[in-house]
Subunit: 348 residues, 2 copies
């Protein structure tokens, strides 16, 4: 078996070497699936060593090692949230000097380890911010006004036989507590102001640029809010930032929206709180163990579930392509990255 893997690695190395020799372009290690326009745009500019190329059968880390062994090995890689960039990864690809992530979050990248090895990191910047903010508002409207639940009701053909149906709740006047007032959180706030919501927020420190009420503590934020929106990065300080106590402080009429990361919420406690009516509802685009969704949620009428699509639109896909190539071109031409990420930039 180990021999088999070794053999495959050799074969792959030769293939990659052939690919690498195909042009005078700089090599890029591509570790995420891309659509045809993205693939074409990359191949126009770079020698692409593609983990997802047809016929490529090596596991990811073996492929990375094989790619690092070609002549003129790749100095840059394009990754997504599914790739963990840690010491083992960087050991396997010592040629890498630049990691361009297409993810909005950075929780899968060991920034300190990258900094130690002189590996620059870029992320997707604000490419997704607008779409994620829009989606957060969509989820909140859906939970409060029962849009999806109403959809199911009509599609079942139940309208004609309609009995009493639980009323929705008005968005205007709601106190919305936003956890993390960065690119995304501040856009959510701006949108919800237009609906007449009162914005509160929690972040590492208060922002001078806004007049919203700041809460240094998420528990107090929850106690003073009708809605909690999770819009922070995932890191040690924000893992399970919404826990059992916070959910209880939010209370039985409270609603949670999560477009951050699943692990920002203690998911097991969230399911209990929803089941026991300790909170009123939830709109969830992310889950702690994606693509696994707690099965109990499937039968709840007061939750809106989606599959980590808050970032996904045709427009953001196209913007992401341009942005990723911009970061790669900046790196290869010795210019500053468009959206560099530093080890201390894990802002909420």
């Amino acid at each position: 078996n180990r021999k088999g893997v070794a053999l495959l690695a050799v074969v792959a190395t030769l293939k990659l070497a052939t690919m690498a020799a195909a042009g005078g372009k700089p090599a890029v290690l591509l570790l995420r699936p891309v659509d045809a326009p993205f693939a074409a745009a990359l191949r126009d500019r770079f020698r692409v060593l593609d983990l997802y190329a047809p016929g490529q059968a090596l596991p990811a880390l073996a492929f990375v090692a094989a790619a690092a062994a070609v002549p003129e090995p790749p100095r840059a890689t394009v990754i997504w949230g599914g790739v963990r960039v840690d010491a083992s990864f960087l050991d396997a690809a010592p040629s890498l000097r630049c990691v361009v992530s297409t993810a909005a979050g950075l929780d899968h990248i060991d920034l300190a380890e990258c900094a130690r090895r002189g590996v620059a990191v870029a992320n997707s910047g604000e490419v997704y911010s607008t779409d994620v903010a829009d989606y957060a508002v969509g989820l909140l409207l859906d939970v409060l006004r029962r849009v999806s639940a109403s959809e199911r009701y009509v599609r079942r053909g139940s309208w004609a036989a309609q009995g009493d149906y639980p009323l929705g709740s008005k968005l205007g006047g709601k106190r919305v507590g936003i956890i993390g007032l960065g690119n995304i959180g501040s856009r959510i706030a701006k949108r919800l102001e237009a609906f007449g919501c009162i914005i509160h927020y929690n972040s590492r420190k208060p922002k001078d640029s806004v007049s919203y009420k700041y809460f240094p503590n998420v528990h107090e934020l929850a106690a003073e809010s009708d809605v909690l929106v999770v819009a922070c990065a995932l890191n040690k300080a924000t893992r399970h930032i919404v826990n059992k106590d916070v959910l209880e402080a939010l209370g039985k009429d409270g609603v949670v929206v999560n477009i951050g990361r699943g692990a920002n919420i203690d998911e097991a406690e969230l399911v209990i709180a929803l089941r026991e009516g300790k909170i009123a509802g939830a709109g969830l685009d992310v889950f702690e163990h994606e693509p696994k969704v707690p099965a109990e949620l499937f039968s709840m009428e007061n939750v809106v579930l989606s599959r980590h699509v808050a970032v996904l639109t045709e427009e953001s896909r196209s913007d992401l392509r341009a942005h990723t190539i911009g970061n790669l071109e900046a790196f290869f031409s010795g210019q500053p990255l468009l959206t560099p990420v530093h080890a201390d930039s894990l802002a909420q």
Copy 2:
């Protein structure tokens, strides 16, 4: 059979007379179902002749006639969209001098006939405007970002086995053509501006108070818009205002949202346009023959369906109660109605 109805009418008249004699309060003819708090609030202030009272078995018009025959017959009635106020209705209840409708629309009331007979009419004013505007944005976000479709996908447990899935479309930058820039339409515009949309509109005449681009013609509005939102009243001029030609002008990437009245759109043509990909999608809270929804829509993934709930929240229900009683008290005390409606006020 006619004898039977006549007998029932006599019995009802006696019952109503007994009810009417029960207090010194003014009589109100209640022709819509109300929840317990609404019923109690009405009974506190008025002698309520209730079509939906337990044991009341007369058909609506016979009940109205019976109510008009009691001593001190009701001079005011509370109705909803399900009651058609026309010459026959007014003939049956000659005592009526005030009609308070809890509906937002006025298409079920013959305003000219009411004016001719000196019957004052009040509607729900702006009680619903905010909730309807919110819901319109919710439907639009849902269609563009596929929130309900994503919901169904996750609830079916399909995420883990996920293949390619059609991308959503960004709300920001979309040209949104609003048909009817009244209380509701202008609130929709304000919300969508916060998402970065470009607002166009059509109404009977341009509004001085806004800087949005005005289109005197819905066909041209559709041709210059990515989204059409129907937010006008239903009347002769706006029946089927969105017809086959308008849908074709909107085009294959276009989306329609209807929170007005079903008959503002030629529903048969809408179904064809959706089926044939002549437009991209639709978010529909209202239908031409409610509660009947064209069955073909049930299997479409690019439509979001709801059951005329854009006005419905706990908050609007409570506001409506206070507003309806306010109109009745104004009428009985000889004050101006809170939200009088005149025959010439059928603004879009």
